[in-house]
């Protein structure tokens, strides 16, 4: 089985305060991978660090066996829905077309082929009739589906999705799962931050359990166990939290 994401001794800090310590993990490709952990465990940070969106303090991450800059066009990303302003003056189709910008490069405008890809992506998520709507007129579930359509339009090999199920209704959730399975059937890999422990076993083949450090990673049937969940959620890692705080205050004192 080939490797989708490989992370070696990766530590990530926000404002000098470490939020992820020394993560080592190797993930297969062609599977749906759930990134699981409590609030503040560093799940979003894990995705962002692998994508180079936040600086890595130490260690490295590779995607598809190569440094990130070599494989940008083979990577898709769905940020958290609340991270953008949905009052922004763009239409649904404009947003989906952004999925094509990576291959278009600078300056060049989307052509007929990109339009076709965008409309196809919209119909995959059942939103083709909304293509001309302003994005602010959509419900939360519809907004999430627009983001998913943008990812489909990217036609990437490895997808990073930050809470794709957050704030969506049951019908939308089922539809998104359907789309993810379709992606897997076409050999694509999906890493998704996920919150609902009830559905982990049903949705994901593989899980990454995080709580400021890697607790466990592996096939869901092996790793998604009571014991590992207890390690991930039970007992706050006071020592790690305290140490992070100590690092932050120490550096802050030197500067101030």
């Amino acid at each position: 089985m080939s490797i989708s994401v490989e992370v070696h001794d990766m530590t990530v800090a926000y404002h000098r305060r470490p939020v992820l310590w020394n993560v080592d993990v190797t993930l297969p490709s062609g599977v749906l991978i759930g990134v699981i952990g409590p609030n503040g465990a560093g799940k979003s940070t894990f995705l962002k660090a692998v994508l180079g969106l936040v600086p890595i303090a130490s260690g490295w991450a590779k995607v598809l066996g190569q440094p990130l800059s070599k494989v940008r066009t083979r990577i898709g990303y769905i940020p958290q829905r609340e991270s953008v302003d949905w009052e922004f003056p763009v239409s649904v189709k404009d947003v989906v077309l952004m999925g094509r910008y990576g291959r278009l490069g600078w300056v060049r405008r989307p052509g007929p082929e990109d339009n076709k890809a965008a409309m196809l992506a919209l119909s995959t998520v059942g939103m083709e009739t909304y293509s001309q709507r302003q994005i602010g007129q959509l419900s939360g579930g519809q907004q999430q589906r627009v983001f998913l359509a943008r990812a489909i339009a990217q036609d990437a090999d490895v997808y990073f999705m930050d809470e794709p199920f957050a704030g969506v209704d049951a019908a939308t959730e089922a539809q998104i799962v359907e789309v993810l399975r379709g992606m897997r059937a076409r050999g694509k890999t999906v890493l998704a931050v996920h919150h609902d422990l009830q559905t982990v076993a049903e949705y994901f083949d593989y899980v990454v359990l995080l709580n400021m450090r890697l607790v466990a990673a592996g096939p869901t049937s092996d790793v998604f166990t009571k014991e590992n969940l207890h390690k991930t959620y039970g007992g706050r890692l006071t020592l790690l939290v305290d140490a992070a705080e100590a690092v932050r205050t120490a550096t802050a004192k030197q500067i101030l």
């Binding site: 969106l53 940020p79 003056p89 990576g102």
Partner: protein
């Protein structure tokens, strides 16, 4: 008056120069303003303008004469320095962006005032010339000023046209832009540098104090008219140019108060922009305040009409055919009084939903027409289905459900009503009665 006619007809070459300069500046600021406002960076322009003042004072002190290029270069350097200071304060201390902005803006402005006072006391220091940079003096613009502005405007428009896609992407979704490898920091910096150049080019005409308004107000006003970024940029540019030209024209044409040195052009331009904003805010067809009020009034009217239809249905629903007429008093009793009921019923009559009996024993009474009966049945259905749904599935007490349903019956889409019918289908008797004490013996038809 004569002067006004000369102005309108652009007979005065000087007026032509000034209007061209102001118009180009307005286009440039309006277009850039769209992206600045969308990036939530609206006040950065203000900081740049204020931070630029010490640069003007300093270059005057160093180069002595009023050397336009040196003045603008000094302004540019200090403007950028101000922006860097804001970033540095945020990066190295716990001071937040708004406070950092306020600190830099006022300190640089203070320094600028002190420096220009010193400059004015030096030999050759022209008091009026430097004051012009604070409040704006478009009338003093000469051809070389306009050339500078034209260069800036063309550069801005070319950059925005070429990188429209990238600017939209970075303003809308930074982290996605970064994930596909766009250098978001660089794009941000280019935008900021353009804003800086535009603000500096505008300083002689609009002045330090009010330049930021030309960035913010046209963009904010244009947002009322469109949901598309392309049109937004176009309209904002138009508004900016309009405001600048109107402001210049007014400050040239209005009689100058005795004893003063003329109208401050910057202030006139900002007032013109504010007027355009006000008109947009009030009159824009979709997002304007008046349109919103009109929508609310229309919905209120629809709601009161529908309440009467439902009342007419409910007061007659357990009667035999032939007894379906009703009087206003019955409706008043049923819906607990309602102001303007007669007018609402007249409206229903005009809409063909209600018929009034003129002759015979029932003269003065009303009845629902076929159309009215269909509509009333639909409303009663929506109302009661929602009530049943709340009671069964949301565990809400029967005496609590009426008010919510009273509003929802007007807006529940057909698909949702169907969904509720399916949801309740198996447990609901074929004729769902009203779940509370208002009416009894309800018969609804067409249960799935």
């Amino acid at each position: 008056m004569n002067e006004f006619i000369r102005l309108v007809l652009l007979q005065d070459p000087n007026t032509r120069v000034v209007l061209a300069g102001a118009g180009l500046l307005g286009v440039c600021a309006g277009v850039l303003g769209v992206f600045v406002v969308l990036r939530r960076r609206a006040l950065v322009g203000d900081a740049i303008a204020h931070a630029a003042l010490p640069g003007i004072g300093a270059s005057f002190l160093i180069f002595g004469e009023r050397n336009v290029v040196a003045l603008l270069a000094g302004a540019f350097v200090f403007g950028l320095l101000g922006v860097l200071c804001i970033a540095a304060i945020q990066m190295w201390t716990r001071v937040k962006e708004d406070a950092a902005l306020g600190i830099v803006l006022s300190s640089f402005f203070g320094l600028g005032l002190v420096l220009s006072r010193i400059a004015q006391s030096t030999p050759g220091g022209n008091k009026a010339g430097l004051d012009g940079y604070i409040f704006g003096k478009a009338a003093s613009m000469v051809q070389s000023d306009v050339l500078v502005i034209a260069l800036v405007a063309v550069t801005t428009l070319v950059v925005v046209a070429f990188f429209f896609k990238e600017l939209r992407l970075v303003c809308f979704d930074r982290s996605f832009a970064a994930s596909i490898g766009r250098p978001v920091g660089m794009i941000d910096f280019v935008l900021l540098a353009l804003v800086c150049v535009c603000v500096i080019a505008g300083l002689p005409a609009v002045g330090v104090v009010l330049t930021a308004a030309l960035l913010i107000i046209p963009a904010a006003g244009a947002r009322f008219w469109t949901d598309r970024l392309g049109y937004l940029v176009f309209i904002a540019g138009l508004f900016g140019a309009g405001a600048a030209c109107i402001g210049v024209a007014m400050s040239a044409a209005l009689p100058i108060p005795a004893g003063s040195r003329g109208w401050p052009t910057g202030a006139m331009i900002v007032l013109a922009a504010a007027a355009i904003f006000m008109v947009s805010m009030l009159l824009a067809p979709q997002r304007g305040v008046l349109a919103a009020v009109a929508r609310r009034v229309a919905f209120k009217r629809k709601m009161s009409l529908e309440h009467v239809l439902r009342a007419a249905y409910e007061v007659t629903e357990d009667r035999k055919p032939g007894g379906f007429s009703w009087s206003i008093n019955e409706i008043v009793r049923h819906i607990d009084g309602q102001a303007g009921l007669q007018r609402i019923i007249n409206r229903a009559v005009r809409a063909g939903l209600v018929k009034k009996y003129i002759h015979g024993t029932r003269a003065g009474q009303y009845t629902l027409t076929d159309d009215g009966a269909i509509e009333a049945t639909r409303l009663v259905r929506a109302h009661r289905l929602w009530e049943h749904f709340l009671i069964r599935h949301a565990d809400i007490a029967p005496d609590h459900v009426h008010r919510g349903a009273d509003e929802l019956e007007h807006i529940l889409p057909t698909e949702m009503i169907r969904a509720i019918e399916l949801e309740l289908g198996s447990t609901l008797p074929p004729a769902p009665p009203s779940p509370h004490q208002v009416v009894q013996g309800v018969r609804l038809e067409g249960n799935p």
